[in-house]
């Protein structure tokens, strides 16, 4: 390896490091600004700006940028030589030496190669490629400081209302508890199609609770309303199932007593309650059996009624294992218990009650379930609206009219402001600027035709004897320049 190659490799390494330093600073700057922007977006959406998402994303962007810049600034030996020649005023000795390196035949080429090699041996690239931190690095603290201020601002905003913070924590816990219940609801929904709606409502309630726990702007009342709706749905389902159970019990008693007509009516009443498809089929079958019993012999009728009563009792029994309505009722009861535990601040299904009772935030949440005002200040309500109602005792008088409307214009039609003028009196623009016929008109002849028409005359003019030869040259050049393009 020649001295030129060694020198250039050394310089290339240094150049690589210098480029890496510069590109690194630019990448850090890019990542810092992007991180700041993402943190600002996060903070504006009431999410913590120091979440790993924006920080990790911007760090990845910075790394990608650094990799791309490093790849783009890679140099081969020839480019390195050119760079050094440019900065070092070496009179291209390095690039020429690199090109001539090898066996040269021509004597002057040998001399040139030896001269360049000698130069390369004594050449120190370090002064040309200083390892300096770029000036742009001074800008790096700007986004960092801005990010610090952003975090402070966000945390300061969080610290304004400790009760709200506590409430948000509580909502987050409840969302987690409801999330734990969701698989059970989903399982129940698979067994009973009536619970599907319940599962969807539970999903919505979880989402609302999470939003309320995360965001300062989200209304916790909405989340709790959703929770209450869920509870009401469970209640109504429970009541419907209980009514069905009672109707079946009644029908069984009537069937045992041999009153098939009343048993059929009771079964019909049970069938009006919401039920699964399978249950409806079974009830329809039982109703058909009860009606068919009227045409049977006394013995067959008694046996059939006894069997029907046994089936209905089995379905209506709270401890029955086969009845789906009973299973659903049990699941609903357990869900309802869990919901009530949640609302009362219990840690979960079957969990121990919290020592010390409800906290301040919890009591707030329970009380704000519904449409009651959130503030406990006396006289709050209308007075909290800006300015109050127009004319009311809290009217700040910011409107022009006590009626809250803009005053009507004095002359809405503009009848009193029109100007009179007399036609043909005074100067007009058409008097001052006479129009030219060429202003808007176009030539009727094509330029080529026009040129051809005057070209012969131009040539005659140039050939006239009284024009000096030297001037003819310029005249000819003029006509050549205005000649239309071929």
């Amino acid at each position: 390896m020649s001295a030129i190659h060694q020198t250039l490799r050394r310089a290339r390494r240094r150049l690589f490091l210098a480029n890496l330093l510069r590109d690194g600073v630019w990448s850090v700057l890019l990542a810092a600004w992007v991180a700041l922007a993402l943190m600002a977006v996060w903070a504006l959406r009431d999410r913590s700006p120091i979440e790993p998402g924006p920080l990790f994303g911007s760090a990845l962007l910075g790394l990608g940028s650094l990799a791309m810049l490093t790849f783009r600034h890679r140099l081969d030996l020839s480019a390195t030589a050119r760079r050094l020649d440019f900065f070092g005023q070496t009179r291209d000795r390095l690039s020429v030496g690199l090109a001539l390196a090898g066996d040269q035949v021509a004597p002057l080429a040998r001399l040139a190669e030896a001269d360049c090699r000698k130069f390369a041996e004594s050449f120190d690239p370090r002064p040309l490629l200083p390892m300096r931190i770029p000036r742009s690095a001074w800008v790096i603290p700007v986004p960092v400081i801005a990010a610090g201020f952003l975090i402070l601002w966000y945390q300061n905003g969080q610290r304004i209302d400790p009760a709200t913070l506590a409430a948000r924590r509580e909502l987050a816990e409840k969302a987690a508890q409801l999330e734990k219940l969701r698989p059970e609801i989903a399982r129940a929904a698979r067994e009973d199609t009536r619970l599907k709606e319940l599962a969807e409502a539970a999903g919505k309630a979880v989402e609302k609770l999470r939003q309320a726990a995360r965001s300062r702007k989200a209304d916790p009342k909405e989340a709790l309303k959703q929770l209450s709706r869920l509870e009401a749905m469970i209640d109504s389902l429970q009541k419907a199932l209980a009514a069905q159970s009672r109707a079946l019990e009644n029908a069984a008693a009537l069937a045992e007593a041999g009153d098939t007509r009343s048993a059929a009516q009771a079964l019909q009443a049970a069938a009006q309650n919401p039920m699964s498809k399978e249950e409806r089929q079974q009830l329809d079958q039982a109703l058909a059996d009860a009606r068919a019993a009227g045409q049977m012999s006394e013995r067959e009728r008694r046996q059939a009624l006894s069997r029907l009563a046994g089936q209905m009792r089995q379905r209506s029994q709270p401890s029955g294992q086969k009845g789906q309505g009973q299973g659903s009722q049990r699941q609903l009861q357990s869900l309802k218990n869990a919901m009530q535990n949640m609302k009362q601040g219990s840690p979960g299904r079957g969990g121990q009650p919290r020592p010390g009772g409800n906290r301040e935030g919890e009591s707030r949440i329970v009380q704000t379930d519904g449409d009651a005002p959130t503030s406990d200040k006396p006289g709050s309500g209308e007075g909290e609206k800006p300015g109050g109602q127009p004319g009311g005792e809290r009217d700040a008088g910011t409107m022009e009219s006590p009626y809250g409307r803009q005053a009507p214009a004095k002359d809405p039609a503009g009848l009193a402001t029109h100007l009179n003028s007399i036609l043909d009196q005074g100067e007009s623009l058409s008097d001052l600027v006479p129009a030219s016929p060429g202003d808007t008109s176009k030539s009727t002849r094509r330029y080529r035709d026009l040129y051809n028409a005057v070209a012969a005359d131009a040539q005659n003019t140039v050939d006239r004897e009284d024009i000096p030869l030297a001037s003819r040259f310029f005249i000819k050049r003029y006509f050549e320049n205005i000649r239309p393009a071929e």
Binding site: D92, A109, L111, A470, N481
Partner: protein, 332 residues
């Protein structure tokens, strides 16, 4: 790398290069004995001499153009001829003509009477005062180093160098040189007016009783030929050559790499002779800079005199008073 000519046969090429440098610097010193200032002009003329090209000197009268050429002839033991170009000058007045003469038997025969072009150094003074027809008489001599009269070709003796002068101010009764003629000049040098200090020096030298003598630096014309061959052996890498080619191509308005000024004001760009001139002159500059290879700096240094007369401005450029120097400077 390109080698444009076979290397000199001298065993000690380094000594030959040293001799070239010595001759060049000594010649320049000798010229400086009589010509005050004008260092760039002296160097340009000597570069053209060793590159085998011709020089067009442009300047107002009285700046020492003729003295420069005469001093150069004195310093090199070369034949010198001067032609004062006028509108009634005929081509035969330059190249010579066949004249009727008697031979030893008393018979009338045509004998070729050689014109002033048969000299080593030809000063074509105020060349733009002659008609284009007469100007063209120099075309063959400048390019082919020969003249053809009456169907007979007469080869000029080497070295042959034409130094033409023209006055940029007086345009009445002058004939601008045709492009083909201009292209045959290696360099176009602008002789500037001397500074006050230089004018003092001129007065001291020319109004005193003593006239500075010029020493003969080159005794044989063959020396110049061998030094010309040496110059052509200087290596040029492809990269550096590409720089020169790029510069020439950038003067062509229709070329994609043309500069903005060239696209706007240039009608025709530099010819291949322009690139040849740049490269040959750069080789000499490289040797004078104690190097054996051509660099970009050498090319930039000689681009202006080598290209300024090879660009033809369009009507817009002439109307706006643009000069070819501005366009070339923009390329550098």
């Amino acid at each position: 790398m390109t080698t444009n000519a076979p290397a000199p046969s001298s065993p000690d090429i380094q000594a030959e290069v040293e001799r070239f440098r010595t001759v060049f610097r000594t010649l320049k010193n000798e010229l400086s004995q009589r010509i005050v200032g004008q260092g760039d002009i002296l160097e340009g003329v000597l570069i053209a001499l060793f590159a085998g090209g011709h020089v067009l000197l442009e300047g107002v009268p009285g700046l020492g153009k003729t003295l420069l050429v005469r001093t150069l002839a004195d310093a090199m033991q070369l034949d010198f001829a001067r032609i004062q170009f006028t509108p009634d000058l005929m081509p035969a007045d330059i190249v010579g003509t066949d004249m009727i003469a008697e031979d030893e038997h008393g018979r009338k025969v045509f004998r070729f009477e050689r014109g002033p072009v048969f000299a080593h150094l030809l000063l074509a003074d105020e060349i733009n005062r002659a008609t284009p027809k007469t100007q063209s008489a120099l075309l063959e001599a400048m390019q082919e180093q020969s003249v053809t009269v009456g169907g007979t070709r007469h080869v000029l003796e080497q070295p042959f160098l034409v130094l033409a002068t023209q006055n940029p101010l007086e345009m009445e009764g002058t004939y601008p040189l045709p492009e083909a003629q201009l292209d045959r000049f290696f360099f176009k040098l602008r002789v500037e007016y001397p500074s006050a200090e230089e004018l003092h020096e001129i007065l001291d030298r020319t109004t005193g009783s003593e006239t500075p003598e010029v020493r003969k630096v080159i005794q044989q014309t063959g020396d110049i030929t061998s030094l010309r061959l040496l110059v052509r052996g200087v290596p040029v890498t492809r990269e550096i050559q590409a720089y020169a080619v790029g510069m020439v191509m950038a003067t062509h308005p229709e070329h994609p790499t043309a500069s903005g000024l060239a696209k706007k004001y240039v009608r025709y760009g530099a010819s291949p002779r322009g690139a040849q001139s740049i490269l040959l002159a750069a080789k000499i500059v490289a040797l004078l800079d104690d190097r054996y290879h051509v660099s970009r700096h050498d090319i930039s240094k000689v681009a202006l005199p080598a290209l300024r007369h090879r660009l033809i401005l369009n009507f817009e450029g002439e109307a706006e008073g643009k000069t070819t120097d501005e366009i070339i400077q923009a390329l550098l």
